[in-house]
Symmetry: C2
Subunit: 203 residues, 2 copies
DNA sequence: AATTCTATCTTGACGGTGTCAATATTGCAG
DNA sequence: CTGCAATATTGACACCGTCAAGATAGAATT
């Protein structure tokens, strides 16, 4: 077992695959990721990855799941510095958009049709997403109590609609409908105004 | 030239292709559409479609463009019956969601990454989408004047953000993140409340 | 230390994809 | 009737995901 790359067994191929895949989709998009190119990049034969992931779908699920962990960590860090509730919410929105656009391909796997419609989300991925969503809804309840979000419906519905708004804004950019980054910042600002002013209307 | 299908020249292959393609993506999603299957369905050889569409991308662009026309027609019909402005807006929202979910695959081509990011939108498609968007912005201006949408920003920004909200809501369902139709109608209702109550907050 | 077992990796193969090049057929204009 | 342009065809190529069968290496057991 030398330190040279000519060894038969790779070491931690699972991890290497995930990282190489992340790099590829960052550069070439999910469409540019093929199992064969991936294997090649890691320096291994075509079918080696199949001993670590059942199929391509499973690999993409793993990437998405990583994304959920990553995102959750980021948001947890945000909440730690205890700013006023409303400011925190605004920071959350910015952070959410930041993550979506910075890791657009991962975001697409997390919330896009590739896995949820065209593919088959793994049980583990479903669990991750459910947990993330649950945390979000709980926070929405808090935000409602602090008068940042409206009270005219349950935390679930308010959480769903405000999330939908954010998600839609993110998608317009990461799907290539909008490209201009200048528009982006102004649209985020206006979206925050929209979401935050809702409480004024609730009874 | 008999009426039997054994003729060498097909007649109006362009149209047949578009209709067969529409049928396929409706049943099997965009992922289920291949040029070969399409040709086969129409009863023509693999490469025949290439005399009518430069490549698969071009065919998808044509489908998307049809979608824009279809959608525009639907919305024009809606406006003709001159209901009160606010009611009209609510009907618009419902109609928009209806269209998105009823023709989810076409909607995806119109506003999704398949063409706008992964693919290459044709000039003709760009034009169609631009026109649709322009019409929307003009109507937003009207809605602002009638106090249905807020006045705290330009028609462009308000149009962008409200559209983003609608788009996001649609995507959550047509991408398979949400599936329950019951949730859907309640979420639409709440989203309308969100959008329509914004004016109360604007100066 | 020798042997077995198991995890890992390999090559070979199959059916699918988009699309180019070269060829054949047809309908129409001259 | 002839020739031309539009349309359709077969053949080929390079990719793709993934299954099956065999090779290799490291760990466990004797």
């Amino acid at each position: 077992m030398s330190t040279l790359k000519l060894q038969y067994h790779h070491g931690d191929l699972t991890k290497s695959l995930l990282e190489a895949a992340t790099a590829i989709i960052k550069e070439q998009g999910v469409e540019g990721l093929s199992m064969r190119k991936l294997a090649d990049k890691v320096g291994v034969s075509r079918t080696a990855p199949y001993h670590h992931f059942k199929d391509k779908n499973a690999l993409l699920c793993a990437l998405a799941e990583r994304g959920f962990n990553q995102q959750e960590k980021m948001l947890a860090a945000l909440k730690k510095q205890d700013h006023p509730t409303e400011q925190l919410f605004k920071e959350y929105v910015c952070a959410y958009m930041d993550y979506a656009l910075e890791h657009s391909e991962i975001y697409d796997l997390m919330y896009g049709r590739t896995l949820w419609k065209a593919g088959t989300p793994s049980d583990s991925l479903k669990k991750s997403s459910k947990q993330t969503f649950k945390a979000w809804i709980e926070w929405v309840e808090e935000l409602q109590e602090h008068g940042v979000l409206p009270n005219n419906n349950t935390p679930l519905r308010i959480g769903q609609t405000t999330w939908a708004s954010l998600h839609g804004l993110a998608r317009l950019f990461l799907d290539g409908i909008y490209l201009d980054q200048t528009d982006l910042s102004e649209m985020i600002e206006q979206m925050i105004k929209n979401l935050c002013s809702l409480r004024l209307a609730s009874t």
